[in-house]
Amino acid sequence: MRRLFRTTPSGRIGLLFALFALLVVPSVAGNQWLNIFTSTACFALAVAGVAFMYARLGMVSLTQVGLMGVGGWVLLRLNHGTTLPFEANLIAAGAVTMVLGMILALPALRLRGLYLALVTLMAAGGIEIVLATFQFPNGGAGFWGVQTGSGEPFRRPAIAQTDESYLRYTLFVVVLGFLLIELHRRLAPGRAWALIRRSEAAAMSAGVNVTLYKTWAFALSGLLAGIAGGLLAGSLGLLDGGTFRASESVLVYALAVVGGANFWLGAVIAAALFRILPALLNNWGLDADLSFVIFGAGLLHAVITAPNGIAGQVMDLAAGLRARLGWRPAGPAGAVAGETGAAGEPGAAVRRFDAAGGLDAPIEIRDLTVRFGGVLALDRVEAVFTRPVSGIIGPNGAGKTTLMNVFSGFVKTESGSIRAGDTDLMRLPAHRRGLWGLRRSFQREEIADDLSVGQNVAVQLDGLGLAPGVRQAEVARALAMVGLAAQAELPAGALNSYQRRLVDIAKCVVGGPKIIMFDEPAGGLSTEETRALGDLILQIHARTGAMTLVIDHDVDLIARICEETLVLDFGKQIAFGRTARVLADPKVRAAYLGLEEV
């Protein structure tokens, strides 16, 4: 719990800044500037919603200002039509946009990258047009039977009647919003998002419910947009088609990148560029259109040379300054370590995990057939793995990884089943298999660089509903087993490639695994590293009770660690049995070891 509330240097400065904005700014700002600051605060919240989607999930959402518009309209409509207090209306506005956000998440379950950005952009266009067409609540024929203009005058919250107090009110809500995002980042959703961003396949096999967490992210982003829009509407008191333009969603996203999507400061900078800069230009007698030029140039600059935006550069500068003054150097670019498992306690190494770990039954593959269009990727594969460590070998394109993907639930089968004990794996959705105890590594290490080593391992346990203490002990145990206890708090991006491989293994052994699959674990490792890796894999069964399947091209490794081996060639099973016997099989030698004479 203490970790949850720990403040980082960047966080402390943020809170100080918020305090300054809350106490000092409203009292000294002139009338014209009060409104500008209020709208800046609102946009900072909206930008934060876009920024965390981009920085944490790598998703580009171009609907934010459209959603703000919806939030604003809903708030004003409720305000005109009901006598509920401002806060209730604001929450209702946020709830409506939250639901819209969930709807927007539907295409995101199917689309990624550019296509997702395009769909959200189209949705933004749609929202703008709908709002402009119906013109509620000011003007038009009214909505929900309430004639606008005839209703009560607009009511601000009771405690914030003046512009000055309304600015304070807005700032307070905005700070709450920022804290909400930070809270998510430090808990299970943050870990899940980071892994989804790295690879959805890896996330699913880690037991992360990708659908849930993607929808959750859109909902949170939508909620923030709605609240921001509602607060802005409360400040203006009057909306028209021009208040929220869909095209501004694109600007808001662009500015989130310019400001630096990873940092709270980035959102503040973005909002300041968006609202304060044009006002300044106006004051100086320049045309506000010029701010577009500045935005555009800033965006190009950020994209080409400053991936962490202006805020990232500020953080780098601050870190450099601190180092020069001889203070304790900050982590890379001011990144903050979130909640992680405690550093290792190697004494507990041999203790078996008690949450139904291990598998006391063979893995039975029956009549497994997979077809990709006209290609038979797996052709009626049959095998029963009974030994703790088994191998799968075959030339490139033999179907080894496809077989693992069938285990993981990424590939549709034409026929066949995989059973382990009384569990039929084929009946479980992909992430459920992860929770059940199916673990795997991928040919590329699937580790989220922006999480710490401990967090990367902890993701694996998030779906299991463990008590925090148990979870931390379990993470520490897994890290101790692979020899990374000392690195638990390091960001995963700081590890070398062998250590990254070890993190993959720690993710596989944590939390009561039943079946562990390694896809070419020795690829790219040196001879000594491969030997150490082999030793580690051999210990897995004794320590966790799990059965291990290993794909590798290193026949020496397979011969050393695997008691049973399955050999595939062009999707066909050409041998299965004791490794020594299989490797001596003339058919295997011809297909795989490259000896032509049969």
Binding site: V60, P107, L109, R110, L111, R112, G113, L114, Y115, A117, L118, V119, L121, M122, A123, G125, G126, I129, V130, T133, F134, S199, E200, A201, M204, S247, V250, L251, A254, V257, D287, D289, L290, S291, F292, V293, I294, F295, G296, A297, G298, L299, L300, V303, I304, F410, K412, A430, F442, R444
Partner: protein
């Protein structure tokens, strides 16, 4: 495979017929025809924009949000030059020339610095470039109603009893011509072959010695010509306003999406269908307000239709 293809075509034809029938049921044929023709013209513009994007995207991997802005800069310049008394054809040429120069400049100076980044980043960078152009253009030509008219507006041609202005005919024929021309260019010339190779696999193409910079420059040039022409026609047929022309990229992208960012014929078909549906929606008193959303809705539906039945688990690089 062929079966599903036929089915898709049939589905498309049935849907289009249903929409046309539903919207124009009780309207006289002549009015329906008029709206249909004007829809085809607008749709041709969407399609042209989409084609320019797809050509560039296939060859360079850049989805260019700045196409519309380049067209806007060209169209505003052409208007200014005509105001200053330049012989109009020269002004039109200047429009296309400026758009080509803007996009070539980006393609040579900025795009290479992002060559190995992912598509989203490349697209976001062009967004920044579009903002710069838009800012400069709106600064130079502050919002005033302006009109750009081509002499072809006054030439009417009788087609099946309808009077169609030559401009609309030109736009429609140009979209057909450009699709055919680019198809021939891609299939019959060496540069076309190299472009297809780049579209297929950039790293491999670089390894076998395809002059990437040269091919990309040509692609930027082609998309510049299309952007300039589209901007000019948009300024004449719809509205001469920098912001409006710049954000023409959004329906253009919608059209491009209909062709999965690769199939030019489908882009053309998508653009034309969007234009026609959008125009016919004007006939319906209820749906009139929803008219401008039509491209978005169509593209979103098409996109989801393409994705049906696929499981989104692996990136191409996973």
């Amino acid at each position: 495979m062929t079966q599903t293809k036929t089915f898709n075509w049939l589905l498309y034809l049935v849907l289009m017929a249903a929409i046309v029938a539903a919207l124009g049921w009780d309207k006289p044929g002549k009015i329906l025809g008029l709206f249909f023709v004007s829809g085809l013209a607008v749709g041709s513009l969407y399609a042209l924009g989409g084609i320019g994007m797809v050509v560039l995207y296939r060859a360079t991997g850049v989805l260019n949000f700045a196409n519309g802005a380049a067209g806007a800069a060209g169209a505003m310049t052409a208007w200014q030059l005509v105001e200053w008394g330049l012989w109009p054809p020269l002004a039109w040429l200047a429009c296309i020339g400026l758009a080509v120069a803007i996009l070539l400049g980006y393609g040579r100076l900025i795009a290479p610095r992002l060559a190995w980044r992912e598509p989203v980043v490349k697209a976001v960078a062009t967004l920044g470039f579009a903002l710069i152009i838009l800012g400069v253009v709106s600064y130079l030509w502050i919002d005033d109603p302006r009109k750009l008219s081509l002499p072809t507006d006054k030439i009417g041609i009788q087609l099946l009893g309808l009077r169609v202005t030559a401009t609309r005919l030109i736009v429609f024929l140009a979209s057909l011509g450009i699709v055919a021309g680019i198809y021939l260019y891609l299939t019959r010339t060496l540069v076309g072959l190299q472009m297809r190779s780049l579209a297929n696999n950039r790293s491999l193409s670089a390894l076998i010695g395809i002059p990437i910079l040269r091919v990309e420059t040509i692609a930027w040039g082609i998309s510049g010509v299309i952007a300039g022409f589209t901007g000019l026609m948009f300024g004449d047929l719809i509205r001469l306003e920098p912001t409006v022309i710049t954000f023409m990229v959004i329906p253009s992208i919608a059209a491009a999406v209909c062709g999965r960012l690769e199939n030019l014929a489908l882009v053309l078909l998508g653009g034309l269908s969007m234009g026609v549906i959008e125009s016919l929606l004007t006939l319906s008193p209820v749906l009139k307000g929803a008219r401008p959303i039509a491209p978005f809705v169509i593209a979103a539906i098409v996109l989801l239709w393409y994705q049906r039945g696929t499981r989104l688990t692996f990136d191409s690089k996973d």
